[in-house]
C-alpha cells in the first residue's frame, strides 16, 4: 500500500493541480456608489420603514426591514453602520404579532396572537383608549438610531408637538388635543416634546429614504371609510415639502417612495371573493351595507347602500365592492336573524369617542339598526360600513393617493431625488407577480409570500423585493451599481 501510494502520489498531485486549475472563477460584480454618499443613511417613514409584519413590530421584522437590507448593500460601497431601535433579547416579540396556527377544513387560515416576551413597559389611558383598553407603551430606546420609521405616523403628524410624550393623552372629547404615538414615544427621550420633523431635521444624513404618507389614506381605507380621515392635500403637500427640505438641507441625496394604491393589497382582496362565491352558490342576489361614517344625529340613520352580489369584487377581478380582512368573522354570520355581534363590536370600538350617555341601544337606534332582522341581508340590520370599502369610498381613497403621489413626486423632482414608484411597482406585482429564482411571489394573501398575516405589511420576502426596487431606482438615479439582495434568502409566511 505504501509503495503504491509513493508511486501514485506524484500522478495524483498532478491531477489535483489540474483540477485546481480547472475550477472556473466568475468575478464578483463590481459595486460602485456612483454620485451618492451612503456614509450616514437615515430612513424616514412609518410602519413599513420600521419593519412591521404580521400586525406587530418585533425583532425579526426589524432585522428584515427594508432600510436594514438597504444598509447592508450600502456597506459594500462605503455605507456606515446602521442602528435600529431593536427590541432586546427577552423582549424580542415587541408589540406582539399574529402567527398562522393552521387552516380550517375549508382552507380558511386560523391565526393566533403571540403574547410572550413582549416589550410592553406600561399602559396609559388616553382619550381614545380609556381604562378599559389603555394604550400600551414600550421599553424605551433612546440611543442614536438611523431608522426613524414610526409605526402609525401620518404625514399630517410630523409637526405635532408632544407626539412622543406620554403626557399627550388627547384632552377630552369636547376639547381634543393630540395623542402621543407609542413608537415615537419609545425612541424619544422622556419628557421631550420634539416633533417628528425636528427629529428628522437633526438627523443630518448624507443619504436618506423617505416613505411617508401611507397612513394618510390607509387608516381611512381599512376602517371602510367609517373612521379616521384623509389628510387634506394642502396639508400633506406642505408637510412633505418641509420634510424633504429638512432632509436635503445639508445637500443629502436620497430616495422618495410613493404611496401604493391600498385597494389592491390582500387586506381588501381576500374576503370578498370567497364571500361572493358563497353568495352566488346560495343564489343570494345582493346584500345591504352602511356607507361612510356612522351617524351621530338621532333621526338621521347611517346611509344604507344595496350591493348586488355580482358587484362584489371576485377572484376573477369582476365587481367593485371590497371587503376588509377584518370582515372575515362577520361575513360568516350573513343572513342570521337576532345577530348583533358586528354592531356590538363596532359600538365597543367607537365607544371611547362617543359621549358617555350613548349606550349600545342608543347607538343602534341612532344608526337605525334592528339586530333581530337577518344580518347583512336587510336594511334594518346591514353590514357596518367598517367592513366594506365601497366603490364611492374607493374613489375618495384613489383620488387622495394620486394627489399625495403628485406632491411626493413633484418635490422629489424639484430636489433631484430618486423616486421609487411603489404604486406602479405594486400594481405590476398584482398583475403579473414577481419571480425570484423559480419562486413566483404574488399579492395573494398567505400563498403569495409577499404580504404578512395582517394583509397590509410585508413579509421579510416582501421587504426584500421592496429593497431591490429601491436599489434599482438608486442605481439609475445616481449612477451607482449597488447589488440587490436575494429575495429567497428572506422568508414568506411561516406555516406550522
Amino acid at each position: 500500500m505504501y509503495t503504491f501510494f509513493k508511486r501514485t502520489a506524484p500522478a495524483l498531485a498532478l491531477l489535483g493541480l489540474g483540477l485546481a486549475g480547472c475550477q472556473p472563477e466568475l468575478d464578483a460584480p463590481k459595486a460602485d456608489r456612483g454620485s451618492a454618499d451612503f456614509s450616514r443613511y437615515i430612513a424616514v417613514g412609518n410602519s413599513l420603514t420600521a419593519g412591521v409584519s404580521d400586525g406587530g413590530l418585533y425583532l425579526e421584522g426589524q432585522l428584515n426591514s427594508y432600510p436594514n437590507l438597504l444598509a447592508q448593500q450600502f456597506k459594500a460601497v462605503g455605507g456606515g453602520d446602521f442602528a435600529q431601535p431593536l427590541f432586546q433579547s427577552g423582549q424580542e416579540n415587541g408589540s406582539g404579532y399574529i402567527r398562522l396556527a393552521g387552516f380550517t377544513s375549508t382552507g380558511a387560515p386560523i391565526t393566533a396572537s403571540v403574547t410572550t416576551n413582549l416589550a410592553v413597559r406600561g399602559r396609559v389611558e388616553t382619550r381614545t383608549n380609556p381604562a378599559s383598553n389603555p394604550q400600551l407603551i414600550y421599553t424605551k430606546y433612546t440611543e442614536p438610531i438611523n431608522n426613524l420609521g414610526v409605526p402609525g405616523i401620518r404625514m399630517s403628524d410630523i409637526e405635532t408637538r408632544g407626539f412622543g410624550n406620554v403626557a399627550s393623552t388627547g384632552g377630552t372629547l369636547l376639547a381634543p388635543t393630540p395623542i402621543f404615538n407609542s413608537y415615537f414615544e419609545r425612541i424619544t427621550p422622556a419628557g421631550s416634546d420634539q416633533t417628528y420633523l425636528e427629529r428628522v431635521a437633526a438627523s443630518n444624513p448624507t443619504f436618506f429614504t423617505s416613505w411617508l404618507g401611507n397612513n394618510d389614506v390607509l387608516g381611512f381605507a381599512t376602517a371602510g371609510a367609517a373612521a379616521s380621515f384623509l389628510t387634506p392635500v394642502a396639508d400633506f403637500t406642505d408637510k412633505n415639502n418641509k420634510l424633504i427640505n429638512a432632509l436635503t438641507a445639508n445637500g443629502a441625496k436620497g430616495l422618495v417612495a410613493t404611496i401604493p394604491d391600498v385597494t389592491s393589497i390582500p387586506f381588501f382582496t381576500t374576503v370578498g371573493p370567497t364571500f361572493k362565491a358563497t353568495l352566488l352558490a346560495a343564489n343570494v342576489p345582493g346584500i345591504v351595507v352602511t356607507t361612510g361614517a356612522f351617524s351621530s344625529t338621532p333621526g338621521t340613520p347611517a346611509t344604507r347602500k344595496s350591493i348586488a352580489t355580482a358587484d362584489i369584487k371576485g377572484a376573477d377581478g369582476n365587481g367593485r365592492q371590497l371587503f376588509t380582512l377584518t370582515s372575515s368573522p362577520y361575513v360568516a354570520l350573513f343572513g342570521r336573524p337576532n345577530n348583533g355581534k358586528a354592531w356590538r363590536d363596532v359600538y365597543n370600538q367607537a365607544r371611547a369617542s362617543l359621549p358617555p350617555v350613548v349606550s349600545l341601544g342608543v347607538f343602534l337606534a341612532i344608526q337605525g339598526v334592528d339586530t333581530t332582522k337577518a344580518f347583512g341581508a336587510s336594511v334594518e340590520n346591514p353590514f357596518p360600513s367598517t367592513l366594506v370599502l365601497d366603490d364611492v369610498e374607493q374613489v375618495a381613497v384613489r383620488t387622495a393617493t394620486t394627489a399625495f403621489n403628485n406632491a411626493l413626486t413633484a418635490k422629489a423632482n424639484e430636489k433631484g431625488l430618486a423616486i421609487f414608484d411603489a404604486n406602479a411597482s405594486l400594481s405590476r406585482i398584482v398583475t403579473t407577480g414577481i419571480v425570484s429564482d423559480a419562486v413566483n411571489n404574488t399579492a395573494a394573501f398567505i400563498s403569495g409570500n409577499l404580504f404578512s398575516l395582517d394583509g397590509v405589511h410585508f413579509t421579510p420576502r416582501g421587504y426584500a423585493i421592496i429593497a431591490n426596487e429601491m436599489i434599482n431606482a438608486i442605481n439609475t438615479k445616481y449612477g451607482a451599481s449597488l447589488q440587490t439582495v436575494n429575495p429567497n434568502n428572506y422568508r414568506g409566511v411561516r406555516f406550522p
Partner: protein, 431 residues
C-alpha cells in the same frame, strides 16, 4: 480496496455527467476515440465501432474484448443575478464506462459483437442553500445501453452493420427544495423523485466505405428511445403539517427522450502510421420540448379526504425545455511512434441544444470546446489505452427578465461557467 469502497465505486459507475457532451449526452464510448476528439464514424479503430459506426465493425482487423472507464471531474462556478457568493458544485466523480466484445468469421466478411455503454447520463449536485435550490438541488440520471451488433463486409471496400440498442437500465433521481417556510429552524421542505426506467428497444445502423488505403467514409444512425418512468417514488421531507393536503403524491410518471443521432465521418490515412479523422454528429434534441411529471397516490398527510397526487397543490408539473437540434464537430489524429506506442490528439466543438434563457440547473449547458490527448501501448495481444479530455463550456448568463419572457421562470437567474476534466483508461485484448 475493500468491499465497501468497491460498492461505492460501483454505484458511481453507472453515471455519466452533465458536462461530457451537449445536453445530457455522453460521448465517451471508446478510449482510443476519446483521445482523438471523439471521432470514429469514418474510422475502423477497434471494437468501439459498434457504438460509433456498426457498419465499420466488419472492417476492424482485430477481434477482441475491450473495457474502458472514464472519470469525469466537473468544476462549475455560478453567480446569482441577485449577488451573493460564487457557488460551486459539490465535487464528485462519475465514471461512464464501456465494454465491447467482438467476434468475426474466418474470412473476415462477418463480424458480431456486444457492446455495453452509457450514452446518456447526468449527475449534478449543488451546494447546500444555493440560489437555484427551488429549481434543483441534485439530479442523477443514469442509462446503460446494451447492444448486440452484427456487421457484414459486402465487398472488401464496403461494409454495413446494425445493432439492437436496448435501454437495459435507466434511473433518475431528482431533488429540490420546496419554497414554503416551516417553523423557525426547521430544515428546508424538500421533494425527491426517484424512479427506474422501463426497458426499451431501439436500433443503430451504419455504413462504411473505404475506396482506397488512404481514405475511408462512414455514416451511422442511432434511433431515439423514450426513457419512461412509471410509478417512481415521490418522497417529501420537512413539509409543514398544515400544508399536508397540498403534498399528497406518492408516485410519479415521466418521460425523457434520449434523442436520435445521425453521424458522418471521414478518415485519411496518408501513410501507415498516421490516421486523421473528422466527424459531424447531428442530435435531434428538438424532441425534448417539455419535461412533465404526472403525480398520483395519497400519502394521507393532509388527512385521507385530501385530493390525491398533489405536489404543491397540483398533480402535474411541466417545465419548458424546447431544445433545438444540434451539431457536434470533431477532429482527431493518431500517430504510431514505435511498434508499441501510438499517440493521439484532437478537439471538438459542441453546439448546445439549449436555447438562451432556457438553461436549467440540471443541465447547465453551453457551447463547449473540447481538447483531447491519448496514447496506447501494445504488448502482444494486450493493449492499454489512456485518454484525457479538457472541456470548456462557454460562460452563459440568463436574467430573471429573460426567464419571465420565455416562460421559463422555474429556473434560476445568473451566470454559469463550467469546465470538465476527463481522464480515462482502457484495456484491450485481441485474438
Amino acid at each position: 480496496m475493500n468491499l465497501k469502497s468497491l460498492l461505492l465505486a460501483g454505484g458511481a459507475l453507472l453515471s455519466g455527467t452533465a458536462a461530457s457532451a451537449g445536453g445530457y449526452q455522453v460521448t465517451l464510448a471508446g478510449q482510443k476515440n476519446n483521445g482523438m476528439g471523439g471521432v470514429g464514424v469514418g474510422l475502423s479503430l477497434d471494437q468501439a465501432a459498434m457504438f460509433y459506426n456498426p457498419g465499420a465493425l466488419a472492417m476492424v482487423r482485430d477481434r477482441g474484448i475491450q473495457v474502458g472507464v472514464n472519470a469525469t471531474l466537473a468544476r462549475q462556478a455560478f453567480r446569482s443575478q441577485y449577488g451573493g457568493p460564487q457557488r460551486e458544485l459539490q465535487n464528485h466523480v462519475v465514471t461512464p464506462f464501456n465494454l465491447y466484445a467482438g467476434f468475426g468469421s474466418e474470412d473476415n466478411k462477418f463480424a458480431a459483437g456486444i457492446a455495453v455503454y452509457t450514452p446518456f447520463g447526468n449527475k449534478v449536485q449543488y451546494a447546500d442553500g444555493w440560489e437555484g435550490r427551488y429549481s434543483l438541488t441534485e439530479i442523477d440520471l443514469k442509462s446503460i445501453y446494451v447492444q448486440p451488433t452484427v456487421s457484414y463486409a459486402l465487398t472488401d471496400k464496403l461494409s454495413v452493420g446494425a445493432g439492437l440498442v436496448i435501454l437495459a437500465y435507466g434511473a433518475v433521481n431528482l431533488q429540490r427544495d420546496i419554497p414554503v417556510e416551516g417553523a423557525a429552524g426547521a430544515g428546508a421542505a424538500h421533494v425527491e423523485l426517484d424512479g427506474k426506467a422501463t426497458t426499451k428497444i431501439g436500433y443503430n445502423a451504419g455504413i462504411y466505405f473505404k475506396p482506397t488505403d488512404k481514405l475511408s467514409l462512414g455514416a451511422s444512425y442511432r434511433s431515439k428511445i423514450d426513457a419512461q418512468v412509471e410509478g417512481g417514488d415521490v418522497t417529501f421531507s420537512n413539509v409543514p403539517a398544515s400544508l399536508g393536503s397540498r403534498f399528497t403524491a406518492t408516485e410519479f410518471d415521466a418521460t425523457l427522450p434520449l434523442p436520435a443521432t445521425t453521424s458522418i465521418g471521414v478518415g485519411f490515412m496518408p501513410n501507415e502510421k498516421l490516421t486523421i479523422g473528422f466527424d459531424a454528429n447531428y442530435v435531434e434534441w428538438s424532441k425534448y420540448k417539455i419535461l412533465r411529471f404526472d403525480f398520483r397516490g395519497n400519502n394521507g398527510a393532509g388527512g385521507l379526504v385530501s385530493t390525491s397526487g398533489q405536489v404543491g397543490g397540483s398533480n402535474v408539473s411541466t417545465s419548458r425545455r424546447e431544445y433545438k437540434n444540434a451539431w457536434t464537430l470533431r477532429a482527431g489524429a493518431q500517430y504510431q511512434l514505435t511498434s508499441g506506442l501510438t499517440v493521439r490528439g484532437g478537439g471538438s466543438y459542441d453546439f448546445s441544444p439549449v436555447k438562451d434563457g432556457f438553461v436549467t440547473p440540471e443541465t447547465p449547458d453551453a457551447d463547449r470546446l473540447g481538447l483531447t490527448v491519448g496514447a496506447s501501448y501494445k504488448f502482444g495481444s494486450f493493449g492499454i489505452d489512456v485518454s484525457g479530455q479538457f472541456i470548456d463550456l462557454k460562460k452563459r448568463t440568463q436574467t430573471e427578465a429573460d426567464l419571465v419572457a420565455n416562460n421559463t421562470a422555474d429556473r434560476v437567474a445568473g451566470t454559469y461557467k463550467t469546465r470538465v476534466l476527463i481522464p480515462g483508461i482502457g484495456l484491450n485484448y485481441t485474438f
